[in-house]
């Protein structure tokens, strides 16, 4: 009982530390530095502590100090309750969804069975969809409650876009569910132990469609029409400042991590290294005793998972800094006229293959 509790708390702290302590601040830095590298610039390098700049990493600390001490501004005529609630509504789902994503396999440590996922739900995928659709409310409420016309347009765009892409996203992963026959993410992970059973080989079209939908759902460029700064100022968070603004921002960054996590789990073999099964890993580390071997195998798996996640974060950043923005109606057209029919075709083909 006690061991279970310790295990749960350890896992929660790990994921929290990883997401909020590591990814959220570091992604701000990555976004600045990666764009700088892509654009022949130097990027953020001014914030220093005793002359040490650590290639601009201290900017995350400077940012934190800045946003915490900034005035929290609520415009006149705004609905105070919803204006305050909106950033929380969009941040919480981004944090919560990661709890069903497995970041490692199942190990036996000192006779205790450790499953590296915070909550191993049978309906893991549905849980992710349910919670990510809650984030829509954050954007819509933020836009509506700000008492600003640009925010309102942004909120409307956000609601239309996110609802549409949720429908499409749901259909894009049906193919994956048909292949693996489970909604449980740990099971899907286990089934990808064989390199040629990875989702990307089983569902190549599904992968492309899902990644597109996920980026659109996250409202990042080229799908950032709800916040298109040249058209509607800043869209639904025009009237936000200080910490509340950063909560929208953090929600967006954490969602990048979550998307990368889901993509890794569904399509890129979760925590598995290509061509190396868990048994091979365990026997390779046999010199450290059975517990030691389990711990080492676990560390390798966690590292594999997060390296894959970081790769997809990099990929999303590259897309964001390369492509121009869609127009609002083109985003909708892409969803309903391209992605939706394609994902239906994907389901159809998958079904045909399985019937055979």
């Amino acid at each position: 009982m006690l061991a279970d509790m310790i295990e749960s708390i350890a896992k929660i702290l790990f994921i929290f530390g990883m997401n909020i302590g590591f990814f959220a601040p570091v992604l701000g830095w990555v976004e600045r530095k990666q764009s700088a590298v892509m654009q022949d610039r130097i990027g953020a390098n001014r914030a220093d502590i005793f002359g040490f700049t650590v290639i601009g990493l201290f900017h995350s600390i400077a940012d934190a100090i800045k946003v915490l001490t900034k005035e929290d501004f609520i415009p006149t005529g705004a609905n105070k309750f919803f204006h305050t609630a909106a950033p929380f509504i969009s941040l919480v789902p981004a944090i919560v969804t990661f709890c069903v994503i497995p970041f490692g396999g199942r190990y036996t440590l000192f006779g205790h069975d450790v499953n590296l996922v915070i909550s191993d739900l049978d309906v893991g995928l549905l849980f992710i969809f349910a919670f990510s659709s809650l984030a829509t409310y954050g954007a819509v409420l933020g836009g509506w409650s700000s008492n600003n016309n640009w925010s309102l347009i942004g909120g409307l765009r956000a609601s239309a876009q996110m609802l549409s892409y949720e429908v499409a996203m749901g259909l894009t992963i049906i193919g994956v569910l048909m292949v693996y026959g489970s909604l449980k993410l740990t099971e899907i992970g286990v089934m990808q132990e064989n390199f040629f059973r990875w989702g990307i080989f089983m569902q190549p079209l599904g992968f492309v469609l899902f990644l597109t939908c996920a980026i659109a759902e996250n409202k990042r460029a080229p799908f950032d029409v709800p916040e298109a700064e040249s058209e509607i100022v800043a869209g639904y968070f025009t009237e936000y400042s200080g910490m509340k603004f950063v909560m929208f921002w953090m929600g967006e960054f954490l969602e990048i991590v979550t998307i990368s996590g889901i993509v890794t789990t569904l399509f890129f073999g979760a925590w598995h290294l290509p061509f190396i099964t868990d048994q091979m890993l365990l026997s390779f580390f046999q010199f450290a005793g059975s517990n030691g071997a389990s711990i080492l195998a676990m560390l390798v798996n966690i590292a594999t998972f997060f390296i894959k996640v970081i790769f997809f974060i990099w990929m999303q950043m590259t897309i964001r800094w390369t492509l121009p923005r869609f127009r609002y109606d083109q985003v909708m057209k892409l969803c309903w006229k391209m992605i939706l029919p394609l994902s239906l075709i994907n389901i159809f083909i998958t079904g045909l293959v399985f019937l055979r």
Partner: protein
């Protein structure tokens, strides 16, 4: 469904786009009436950068106007310098030396390249293509280095004088320019790859704000925006000034006059301008850069100290200004945006009686409502970028 639409009361939203809006850059206001995302009505409100250019000019001497012209189209100030100087010279009847003409062509074309680079860069930026923006801004920056070499300033050039130039080309200018052009060409190729065949970019700009040629002419379009409609009108070809008739260059024209054609025309004009500068370097003769007319153009210090007429006219032109004969004149050059015309009236005194500028982007901005009605609010962004309204020039 029909019941709902009948009973459901909707109204249009009136919203101010600008002047403090990312796309209007503080220089213009669009009063838009929106039906959802669609623009029902759009009114353009200009004048946020009005500095009274034309009135200011009446209080200075003819020569003192040149720094003001830098601030007209501040993206390509050298063309404004050249345009104004040519107009005054036409009024007086001066023909500047050959070398001066070539240097003016080089300066104008460098400015034109800068203007087009900035325009396309900003257009990319506002459509979200931030990398394309920085590539072209880098290209512009190294050309600004050249302009700095030439006249000591990067933006407010104040380089051209009535009847001549401030100074000759600096040493090694040709070599440095050719070196810079190599880099500019490679950056041009990068942006060409990033945008010209980019499906998202094409979707955003193609068939947006198309103008039929007759309407474009009726509105008074000139420059790349008119050429994109398929009308091959370029002042450099239609009424060649300086030495443009000796240059071998093409005028790119578009087909439909939409934003994509405007973009393509500008991209091609950059390469044409690069080649014009290179040709000018090949043809440029040695010789003086200033006319030998002491009553209009200061002589060198040597002459001023040693020749009595030079000394007298030096005093006279400093204190009273040069005195063109009474009369009025219109002279136009091909600005980066289109026909940049100066209408000058002289009463024979040392100060201009009236200076009227014909800014190319005024007519283009006036066509915004025509181009935008029935379009989406997001279409304002590429259209406004591609007509390239420069506040300083439009409002004066």
């Amino acid at each position: 469904m029909s019941d709902i639409t009948k009973d459901f009361n909707t109204e249009h939203m009136v919203i101010n786009m600008g002047p403090s809006h990312p796309v209007t850059h503080g220089t213009v206001k669009f009063l838009t009436t929106l039906d959802g995302e669609t623009i029902v009505d759009l009114k353009v409100d200009i004048g946020y950068l009005h500095r009274g250019f034309e009135k200011m000019c009446e209080n200075g001497t003819w020569q003192q106007v040149i720094p003001y012209t830098d601030r007209l189209n501040y993206v390509s100030p050298l063309i404004n310098n050249v345009g104004y100087a040519l107009a005054v010279e036409k009024l007086i009847g001066i023909d500047v030396p050959e070398r001066c003409k070539y240097i003016r062509v080089i300066a104008s074309e460098l400015s034109r390249i800068c203007d087009h680079l900035t325009n396309i860069a900003a257009g990319g930026l506002e459509l979200g293509a931030f990398s394309a923006f920085l590539y072209f801004v880098e290209a512009r920056d190294i050309i600004w280095d050249l302009i700095e070499m030439l006249c000591g300033a990067r933006v407010t050039a104040n380089y051209v004088r009535i009847g001549g130039l401030k100074n000759d080309l600096p040493d090694n200018f040709k070599e440095k320019t050719l070196e810079v052009f190599k880099k500019v060409r490679s950056l041009w190729a990068d942006v060409d790859k990033l945008l010209t065949k980019n499906r998202i970019f094409i979707d955003r700009v193609k068939d947006i704000a198309a103008m039929p040629p007759d309407e474009a002419i009726a509105y008074g379009f000139t420059g790349p925006c008119l050429r994109s409609c398929g009308v091959p009108y370029d002042v450099r070809k239609a009424q060649p000034y300086l030495v443009y008739d000796r240059m071998d260059f093409e005028i790119p024209i578009g087909e439909t006059g939409d934003n994509f054609d405007r973009y393509l025309v500008r991209m091609e004009e950059i390469t044409q301008s690069l080649s014009i500068v290179e040709q000018a370097f090949d043809q440029i003769p040695p010789g003086p850069i200033n006319v030998d007319m002491p009553q209009y153009r200061w002589q060198s210090k040597d002459d001023v100290y040693n020749r009595i007429d030079s000394l007298i006219f030096h005093f006279k032109t400093v204190i009273e200004g040069i005195k063109p004969p009474p009369g009025e004149i219109y002279s136009a050059v091909e600005g980066a945006n289109g026909e940049l015309g100066f209408y000058l009236v002289s009463d024979g005194s040392g100060k201009p009686y009236k200076i009227k500028v014909r800014p190319p982007c005024f007519a283009l901005t006036a066509a915004m409502p025509r181009m935008m009605k029935g379009r989406f609010i997001a279409d304002i962004v590429p259209t406004f970028d591609m007509i390239n309204m420069i506040g300083g020039e439009c409002d004066r």
